[in-house]
Symmetry: C2
Subunit: 318 residues, 2 copies
């Protein structure tokens, strides 16, 4: 564990270096790549004489820089990456974290240069396919084309995750969602879904969630106080994944309930005022449609606000 912390120190203290310098780029086999991407599709004929490279990266080194010219698209084989963007004034927006199986740099294909930067959070390894030869290769190896389409499609679903993390919920919920996502990704990688070793710092998490890093700290403490998890710096053990997931699903409206239950069961009822509901656009359904006036105040609405539901509206150390 000490080691992991040391790794991070290295990370944050290094100005990302160019990937090319980082390690020996070795020639790899296309079928390895196909296997990596859970492709049960057979590799096809031309699989072994293909321009697929393998790049090892040390922790803290950049795979590519913002505005850097695109030379290849990458597939993470090992390790994890932070994807981010830096504003003119230095504000760093973390867009996500990538793991084994994910595509990196594909968003640069349409631009010719990278709109984002990627830096390894730990020692890592990626497959690289030169964009020069990309389209030709895709034609030669249909399996790769299919694989790439599927991978990118999956990547697109991540966009919604970003929105989920940052939009319209209390800070603790954002953190819970983040942890649940991490947990699921760990599981997908065959590791324990409850013992997380977060490779990124609080600031990175904060940026990703769209809150202040102090708020992240506080949220960790709150979730720990409620008994959902055990936090020791970057080691996080999820003690009650089920409830964490339930909590993560809550919109501001529903926090009260869950929170209260939580509080009752494990904490001495001191925290949690909670009662919000940022944005919503409730599935209207209420209003009569110009047409078939019958449903004018019908019950199509999914779940009503229950104004003043929680009873303990203001537990506030009462």
């Amino acid at each position: 564990m000490n080691q992991s912390v040391r790794q991070y120190r290295v990370i944050s203290s290094t100005a990302p270096q160019c990937a090319a310098q980082a390690g020996a780029t070795t020639r790899a086999c296309l079928s390895d790549l196909l296997r990596l991407m859970d492709a049960d599709a057979e590799t096809g004929p031309a699989s072994d004489s293909c321009p697929v490279l393998m790049r090892p990266l040390r922790a803290g080194t950049a795979l590519f820089h913002e505005h850097g010219q695109i030379d290849a698209i990458h597939f993470v084989s090992m390790g994890s990456f932070k994807i981010y963007r830096t504003a003119e004034d230095g504000y760093e927006q973390v867009l996500g974290f990538a793991r084994r199986g994910e595509v990196l740099g594909y968003d640069a294909v349409c631009l010719g240069q990278h709109p984002t930067a990627a830096v390894a959070l730990e020692d890592a390894r990626v497959f690289a396919i030169s964009v020069r030869e990309l389209f030709a290769l895709l034609q030669r190896v249909p399996a790769l084309d299919r694989l790439l389409h599927l991978a990118v499609s999956r990547q697109l679903t991540r966009a919604a995750e970003i929105a989920d993390l940052m939009a319209a919920v209390a800070a603790e919920v954002r953190l819970a969602r983040f942890l649940v996502l991490q947990s699921e990704q760990m599981k997908a990688c065959g590791q324990s879904p409850v013992r997380l070793l977060l490779r990124m710092g609080r600031r990175d998490i904060a940026s990703h969630l769209g809150v202040a890093h102090e708020t992240v700290s506080r949220s960790f403490s709150v979730l720990a106080d409620w008994g959902w998890l055990h936090v020791n710096n970057r080691e996080v053990e999820i003690l009650d994944l089920a409830q964490l997931k339930t909590f993560a699903r809550s919109t501001r409206r529903s926090i009260d309930d869950i929170g209260v239950r939580a509080k009752a069961s494990s904490a001495p009822a001191e925290l949690l005022p909670r009662s919000n509901a940022r944005e919503l656009s409730w599935v209207a359904g209420r209003q009569g449609f110009g047409f078939d006036g019958a449903v004018t105040s019908g019950g199509i609405c999914i779940d009503h606000p229950r104004p003043g539901a929680t009873a303990t509206k203001h537990s506030h150390a009462a």
Copy 2:
């Protein structure tokens, strides 16, 4: 303009209907699709005997529903769409708005079902390619494959836009960013970049920005008071695009300056305390790297925070 409002009423009051019901699906030509996507690549041989359909949609009808099975991927030819996700409790998260040239439903390819829903904000038209035949078609028509890759790559860059909109900035800035994006998209479609007709309601915008709809209203008023724009319900005229863009770029730290200038020039100096800086993860770069102690405080750092840069730290109506 009245008309547009009427259209919207239909939208919000309608439970989205299945696209199939909405209009006659007509057979279309693949080369039309290729032309739509700014492909100067020639269409190739098999272009005209291809399973490309054209679907017209009336305002308010859904192109596909959340969790609905994927049958095709779509390319917007005309009109605009709202992409959203609905939580269990009815909370509707708007993920984005799509226009001419954008791909819809591609994120479902890897899942077999749609993780999001899409509904037309106005009368619209899309090209549809059945997923059944998709991969075969991509092999037969390399130009289409290339085009799809490029389009999806562009779509991926949208993920960063979502983050930009929702993360770590004051509400007025989020709105400004949103408007700038809208403006740019209008321009890309060949329309006026300063006269916007927002097809979506305040709630949708609010959800997209991650704030309460009242806050959106107030932010509109603020930007209008500052003289950046003229707002009349869903008609927005941008009066000073340059300054709006500058403002949109600001992080919380820099709002003071711009806000002050704005205030001084057009408003009677009453609003705007402002002084934040949510999350940041400043590119550290300062601390020495364990190895090669030379760079201990070197200048590898990309762009230093300029601590206390803005001078007018707390202009506060002074």
